[in-house]
Amino acid sequence: MVFTSRDEAESAGTEFSLDSSEQLAGDPAERAGLGPWRLTGRRLRRDKVAIASGIVFVLLIAACLAAPLWASEVAETTPEENHLSDQVLIDGKPTDVVDMLGKPIGPTWNGHFFLGADGNGRDIMVRLLYGGRNSLVIGLAAALGTIAMGLVLGLLAGYYRGRADSVISWAMDVLWAFPVVLLGVALGTALALGGLDLGPITIQGDSLAIPILIISIAYIPYLARPVRGQTLALREREFVEAARAQGMGSMRVVFTEVLPNVASTLVVFLPLLVANAILLEAALSFLGAGVQPPQASWGTMIAEGVERITSAPHLVIVPGAMLVLSVLSLNIFGEGVRDALDPRARVRIEH
């Protein structure tokens, strides 16, 4: 039916439905010709809750990065320094940091021992910030590692298909077969003992790089599979065919045509991956297969706290609350990103 423009003809098959009432309305921004990323950005900016969450997460990172500042200026101690035999003024009375029965003080809400002390007389607030630095850095680095590896593998498998796909998919299946926690634990334990010594790569057993590597590997299939699926589908689309007809080499096609479309999947996955990586690191550290002492992470702090939970529950509550706060803010922000990318899902919701 040759009514108007080509776009009309293409959508001629689409009958009006409630969902396309927005199409009838014609989003003024769309009509102005803004690209899909700008539109997403606009929608995201309108989502106050998501933005607030994102800010909370950034503030958490900032606070943890400022750990050395807090330690030297406010608490005037280090994360490892134990004050077992020291005393602190509470309500004017000198109190033992750790009393005779081994019970440490609770939050003082002062510069020193702001959140109290742990079983070894160390300042919890300082450890919390330093540990947070580890937890968050590991989480972010691992997520980026997963994206890097998962993206490459997914693109290769989806674009080249055939042999490459069979091998990569099969490798994903094998990786998938490992329970995530056990895989992390297995690798963590094995590597914690002696470090990694693989040809040119040598990593110390207690380096942070080990949990980062382990966690990023563990999550590869979670990203590679969707990327592969999308690439497979995109491969068949006309614009890819057009690019190849123009004589573009495969690598260029992947970069210029496929990648931008896969990017939206990545944007949605990133907050989720970071959140899960943080939780996995906490779990591994809790079990002893993650960050190794004397370094701290929120996971190790919870593990230490659980041992003394009957006398000092705040040792468990505090690091856990920080974990929940970080992960929750990431999840809420991630929700916002997803909604911004696909607002139609939201329109239906409002019916």
């Binding site: 009514f3 001629a12 009006f16 409630l18 009838l24 014609g26």
Partner: protein, 345 residues
Amino acid sequence: MSAPGSLLDLRDLAVSFNTEEGLVQAVDGVSIELRAGEVLAVVGESGSGKSVTATTLMGLTRGPNATIAGSATFEGTELISASDEELRAIRGNRLAMIFQDPMSSLDPVYRVVDQIVEQIQAHRDTRSGEARERAIELLDAVGIPDAAKRADSYPHEFSGGMRQRAMIAMALSLEPSLLIADEPTTALDVTVQAQIIDLLRDLNQRRDLSILLITHDIGVVAEIADRVAVMYAGRIVEQGTIDEIFYEPQHPYTWGLLDSLTRIDRPRPKRLSQIPGMPPSLLAPPRGCHFRPRCPHAFDRCTEVPSLLPRVAAAPGHLDRCWLEPARKQELRQAGDRDALEQPR
């Protein structure tokens, strides 16, 4: 007061939706009558409001964001103000509807026969065995080969044409008096389209089934319709018998539609004819006649909404919404290449 023989009578039907961007007036005062035994086609492009009109009759547009006004009387029952329960009893029973995409319109996890039986049992107290037999009869009647065996298939095992036939069979299972067909052939191959149209025509002529056909395809209209209503941006801009619309079209939009057909009886034009521009946004439609911005013959009166009236003396049933004088319309139609179809001698 509805005329005798009037099966469906729409009066000033108006449907609007509250969206994130504002209020969308999808249907803006539609009034039309469908008589028993006839095929009435509603033609228009995407966004003209034709599908919303149809789905509103079935009550499928009801929701917190929708405002529905006006009246639609079907077999004596007022549909717009009917309760959900009343409407449910009529749907699938007296008034049936088939949709555009038969692939996604059938539930993929249930067998075809079971879906028909489900409809039968929703309205009648029939035993499963009996209902099943009736379903197979229906499938056979719509032309599905080997119906008894095929009935137990799943929808994805049917071809597109067969699925649409199955949908038609299902819709007719309780012998409704009116079938609403919303773009029934759009998603099908051209050859299959013809078969489905033949089937519908057959059902109309032999079983006296009245059909409200929603489509954007004028070719389909020509094959089967008795009367035609042309919709644009939520309003009916012209309505009349099929001869009146094809041979004496009165509205510039209708001219554009007919113009865009490729003609066998004329020398091939250098370019296919198009109506320039795009349909208006229903958030902020143009003042007055909705077609004004795209109409090459617009003049100052067009900022006033034209009423849908009979303007041709000899044809009281032929209504249109254009301020131009009928004589002027005749002139414009016959100017140069912009002819209507010629009545055969």
